[in-house]
């Protein structure tokens, strides 16, 4: 909210404090200043001048040469094309070396051979509008009609364009601060000054309005109080400058005196006001009720709105005339020929106003105040202030009496004054008097051991709220800091360490960590070739997404990885080796939370990567994580993968993960024209199966014996099968089997392949003899023959 410093100073005398100092102080006492702006700060060297003479330009038909008085000995000569000036007019002149509102610099110079010592200015060139100066014109020089303006006067001073606007961030717990008076109260306490409040004095004409209007609240929970007052013989016109100036500084456009009064009171008191034309209040009857479904109203912004049964409205005998707390109806609004008006000052339920405003997509100055919860005790003072302003502006005759329906529940909030608790809580040592002093300033009263907060402070409910009030004026930064006591131990859990090990291993293996969005588009499932009716298509759906691309929670991390791979590929990065520990979100029952699974996903492309590089990474990782009892099998049914280059990892029959070359169709869907390898591993399952207790295995004392085996077998026989046979046959002395060649080609019969292993054997207790080794190897050869693998001759 913008605050006019000029207006503020009417309530609290803070002298000529700089805006920066003011902002700093208010920020530190709890009213955050976002910034400030001095009106007309950019304008330089623009003064009021009085036109002395106007003559034709000797060489230009459309120009005139004027002599103007700027309060100095010598007049200025100004050449102008403007035609709306006459001798004796006061207007702004930008002198040599001046700056206009848009930053334009003006220098003296010759116009068609005649010296011009500056330039006359229009309204826009000063940075103000016709709303601020309704008597001015758009296309022409601003002829000033301000009282007291004199030649040579700084233009900002002459037209009152020199206020300072301070922008506050008002938090939702402080509806009272959405007003000049509220911020003045904070200012007064912050600077230790007196708050000078004024009680409105209304002059009425001795005629009652009681028979002209009736007010009835039908839903007291949504409208605790409704007050109205009538003004007759209204003269609609322009507001005086001081009022327009204040509205402008607060960011509100002046319209006419009556509308301006309602806005003025809202800004000053924080109490939204409305004015109806009494002619359009059927039967002089105001009912505050819920709308009936099917009812319609055209609001002041000209839009017809269909009302729902949840919308509180102000209705006359027949129809709604305003949406309560949000916006008035066009039909019953103030017009140029309005003569009798009803001022409304009411209190509405915050949630109700908020929901209605949201439903109709119309957050107004009024609704944004109401929705935070306003003080019903503010209704009558605000109403009186509006009528006082009518008196001041001579805008009409105020009738006697206030028509009121008061349904407010007057139960006083009481908070125990536990000053010892507060001192302990804040770690302060304030005396009860010091606390009382602060609380009195925020207008709390006391009842024995209880504090009674003012009704405009709905946020004060608990002793912790009181502690906050105390400490913000005592000073957050005055409280001496202490360290936490007690020797708590912080540490990573086993699972957190496990995840760290995964990350560190992937990093060591050359993969970089990425972070991707958890939400995707349902279309991404098509891109990874997921079949139409696949279970994983059932995703957690966001009911109010930003867009389709972020509309569902992924059930598989693959599309996210593919997006990033594609981005890198399209950015012409020659390679990318990436991983992420990513969540997958699997829906359960509708009213239960989905399952969040943790997956390790890796994606790679580039010259140095192939299936076995990727597989090597998986093997290294599983070894590092102490997971050894896993199985691996070829799979041709993983929809995103090349059917001949894909492996599925399992552990005790549970799916551990998948590894493979991305299906060329899938790569194509991402515009990737190279081979992409990915693997996905279930982190939760890995954690379940890790051998946590590592024990040292002694370094062998006796030498190993190695034997090489070159075998011919069917081309379809997996190497893993051969290895398993060898491993079973060799038994306990087997140290490891190393595959060193796989060959198919000329020398090998069609349908067969040559597979060569180096088998290393070792005994723990003695040097292995040749006979022992040969015996084991022969056993292996025999077993291999049984599955059709024979020694290559």
């Amino acid at each position: 909210m913008n605050l006019s410093m000029r207006w503020l100073k009417e309530f609290v005398d803070i002298g000529n404090i700089s805006p920066r100092e003011f902002s700093e102080a208010l920020t530190m006492s709890g009213s955050k200043v976002e910034g400030y702006e001095i009106e007309g700060e950019i304008l330089k060297n623009i003064v009021v001048c009085k036109v002395i003479s106007i003559e034709k330009h000797p060489d230009a038909d459309k120009l005139t040469v004027c002599q103007v008085d700027i309060g100095e000995a010598e007049p200025l000569q100004i050449v102008t094309a403007a035609t709306n000036l006459k001798v004796g007019d006061l207007c702004p002149v930008a002198k040599d070396n001046s700056v206009l509102a848009d930053g334009t610099k003006i220098k003296k110079g010759k116009l068609r051979g005649v010296m011009s010592q500056g330039m006359f200015c229009s309204v826009a060139e000063l940075g103000v509008t016709l709303n601020d100066f309704p008597y001015a014109i758009t296309d022409g020089i601003f002829v000033i009609q301000e009282e007291g303006a004199y030649p040579g006067q700084d233009i900002r001073e002459a037209i009152g364009f020199n206020d300072t606007k301070v922008e506050f961030e008002i938090t939702s717990n402080r509806p009272d601060c959405f007003s000049v008076i509220g911020l003045a109260r904070e200012t007064a306490i912050t600077f230790g000054k007196e708050l000078k409040l004024h009680t409105p004095v209304v002059k009425t004409i001795g005629k009652s309005c009681k028979d002209m209007l009736s007010v009835k609240i039908k839903n007291p929970d949504l409208c605790p109080m409704y007050c109205a007052k009538i003004v007759e013989n209204v003269k609609i016109g322009v507001s005086p400058r001081w009022l327009r100036e204040r509205l402008r500084a607060m960011g509100v456009r002046p319209i006419n005196n009556i509308v301006d009064i309602t806005n003025y009171v809202m800004l000053e008191y924080g109490q939204p006001m409305h004015a109806f034309d009494l002619r359009f209040i059927k039967n002089g009857e105001i009912n505050i009720r819920l709308a009936e479904s099917g009812e319609k109203i055209t609001t002041l912004d000209g839009i017809e709105r269909n009302l729902s049964a949840k919308n509180l409205v102000i209705a006359d005998a027949e129809k709604p005339v305003a949406i309560a707390g949000v916006m008035g109806g066009e039909y019953s609004g103030i017009m140029d020929d309005t003569t009798t008006i009803v001022f409304e000052s009411a209190n509405f339920n915050g949630s109700s106003v908020r929901l209605t405003a949201k439903e109709h997509g119309m957050r107004t100055d009024a609704s944004s105040r109401y929705e935070k919860g306003l003080d019903y005790n503010n209704c009558i003072p605000a109403l009186n202030r509006a009528c006082e302003l009518v008196n001041m502006l001579d805008a009409g005759d105020v009738l006697d009496d206030i028509i009121i329906d008061d349904c407010s529940v007057k139960n006083q909030r009481k908070i125990p004054f536990d000053y010892e608790w507060i001192n302990k809580f804040l770690s302060t040592s304030l005396s009860i008097e010091e606390m009382k002093d602060i609380l009195t300033k925020i207008e709390c009263s006391f009842d024995g051991d209880y504090i009674i907060p003012p009704t405009f402070r709905p946020d004060l409910e608990h002793k912790a709220d009181i502690a906050e009030e105390i400490v913000r004026f005592y000073g957050y930064n005055t409280v001496k800091s202490t360290s936490l006591s007690g020797g708590a131990q912080g540490k990573y859990t086993e699972r957190q360490k496990f995840d760290n090990t995964i990350s560190n291993t992937m990093l060591a293996l050359g993969l970089s960590e990425i972070m991707t969005y958890s939400f995707i588009s349902p279309k991404y499932y098509n891109k990874i070739l997921m079949p139409e009716n696949h279970l994983l298509r059932k995703s957690v759906v966001i009911s109010n997404p930003l867009g389709e691309d972020t509309s569902i929670m992924r059930t598989t991390a693959l599309p996210s990885m593919m997006e990033i791979i594609a981005k890198n590929y399209n950015n012409r990065n020659p390679y990318a080796y990436l991983f992420e520990i990513a969540k997958e979100y699997i829906p359960t029952d509708d009213d239960k939370l989905p399952e969040e699974k943790n997956k390790l996903i890796a994606g790679m492309y580039g010259n140095n990567v192939d299936f076995f590089v990727a597989k090597g990474i998986v093997e290294e990782l599983l070894e590092k994580l102490n997971i050894c009892n896993y199985d691996i099998e070829a799979s041709s049914t993983e929809f995103s993968y090349h059917p001949g280059r894909c492996a599925v990892f399992t552990i005790n029959g549970k799916r551990l993960g998948v590894l493979g070359e991305i299906h060329p169709k899938c790569s194509e869907n991402y515009g990737i024209n190279t081979k992409v390898y990915t693997f996905v591993l279930d982190v939760d399952l890995m954690f379940e199966n890790t051998q946590r207790n590592k024990t040292y295995i002694p370094i062998p004392k006796f030498p190993a014996v190695t034997r090489d085996l070159a075998l011919i077998c069917d081309i379809e026989t997996p190497v893993l099968t051969l290895e398993k046979v060898i491993s079973n046959a060799v038994g306990g002395i087997l140290e490891n089997i190393k595959l060193f060649d796989v060959y198919t080609g000329k020398q090998i019969e069609k349908g067969k392949k040559n597979v060569a292993f180096s088998i290393s054997m070792r005994s723990k207790d003695s040097t292995l003899t040749d006979e022992q080794a040969n015996k084991a190897i022969n056993k292996a050869i025999e077993a291999l023959e049984n599955i059709g693998a024979v020694l290559r001759s």
Binding site: E468, L484, Q496, A508, Y517, S518, N568, E596
Partner: protein, 339 residues
């Protein structure tokens, strides 16, 4: 014979002097000392000598052999030294050629900063707790003193799944879950992904990371909150950081504060980085609202606590001078490999 021996010695030593190649040296050894060599040939004739001459000539022959052997050995060493020298010369390389690089994996900058923050808190006795990203409205809002239709809900535009299930807008629900399960003392941080329906631009993202902290125990004070955060900020931003606590409002804490550090760039004078304010807001915090404690089954008369929350992206952006938040989620390797 004596003369012959002298000649052999002379000839061999002369030949050695001339000699420069390893193979020639080997040849010379065979020629002179070998089984069929000159010296052996002479010795074979020893039988023809008289008994008086034999020891004299024998001694001379040994002397000659020793001399030649020694000379060959010396030559051998000399040649080897020369050879080594030559090889070293030959093996000279241009050390300014670029090194052969390994491909390293790079940790994501957000992880680097998060790890640092975790370590700081672990050092102060905090544990790290995770929780679901898809949450019940109750844990994300209601338990935190933000009932339905509370205006504070407007400031956190929420993605809903159903009326009661949403994408968490903060990691505070983790704190509620911890308080429900664990009796004080509690000292935790909960880092993680949070979601708000902000359109993607240079400073906004519908998904970002938060780190929230919670301490609950008997006798926790506002001064403890200040002290803990001062320590944290000084570890993160340096011992010389100037910090201020500024009153603010959050529904789940009372009193609430925002914490600013003095602008690193202008030292409080006001510059473009700090938008002229001289201070940069870095986190929100406050004393846990008594209602939140009671909601979680903790007696606010007995216990008190504080909570804090900060955005990870903003810390990382400031740390590395990154001006566009989208870079974190685009994951271009040219970006990743800078950290």
């Amino acid at each position: 014979m004596k003369e012959q021996l002298e000649n052999i010695r002379k000839a061999a030593l002369n030949a050695l002097n001339e000699l420069n190649i390893q193979q020639d040296l080997e040849n010379l050894r065979v020629k002179v000392l070998g089984k069929k060599g000159e010296l052996t040939a002479i010795l074979k004739q020893m039988g023809t000598l008289s008994a008086e001459e034999r020891p004299v000539i024998g001694q001379l022959a040994n002397e000659v052999r020793t001399t030649i052997e020694k000379a060959i050995e010396e030559k051998q060493a000399e040649l080897k030294a020369k050879e080594t020298e030559r090889k070293l010369q030959e093996e000279k390389i241009d050390v300014t050629l670029p090194g052969k690089r390994h491909i390293l994996g790079y940790k994501h900058p957000l992880s680097i900063v998060l790890d640092e923050i975790k370590e700081i808190f672990i050092g102060m006795g905090f544990n790290i707790v995770d929780g679901p990203e898809i949450e019940y409205d109750y844990y994300n809002f209601e338990a935190l003193n933000i009932p339905k239709n509370h205006p504070a809900r407007d400031t956190q535009d929420t993605f809903y799944i159903t009326e009661n299930i949403l994408l968490r807008t903060q990691t505070s629900p983790v704190q509620v879950r911890v308080m429900e399960k664990q009796k004080p003392p509690i000292r935790i941080i909960s880092p993680g992904r949070v979601y708000r329906s902000d359109a993607i631009d240079a400073t906004h993202s519908p998904l970002f990371h938060q780190i929230e902290g919670l301490v609950v125990d008997e006798g926790i004070t506002f001064a403890d909150l200040k002290g803990t955060l001062e320590t944290f900020i000084k570890r993160l931003y340096g011992e010389n950081s100037v910090i201020r606590f500024r009153p603010h409002h959050f529904p789940f804490t009372e009193p609430s504060a925002e914490v600013d550090v003095q602008c690193f760039s202008c030292k409080g004078e006001g510059c473009r980085l700090c938008k002229g304010e001289g201070w940069i807001e870095i986190l929100g915090c406050g004393m846990v609202h008594p209602k939140v404690l009671s909601n979680c089954g903790i007696d606010p008369e007995k216990y008190s606590g504080f909570a804090l929350g900060l955005g990870l992206e903003r810390v990382a952006m400031r740390r590395y001078n990154i001006d566009d938040l989208r870079l974190f989620y685009e994951n271009d390797v040219r970006f990743l490999s800078q950290f």
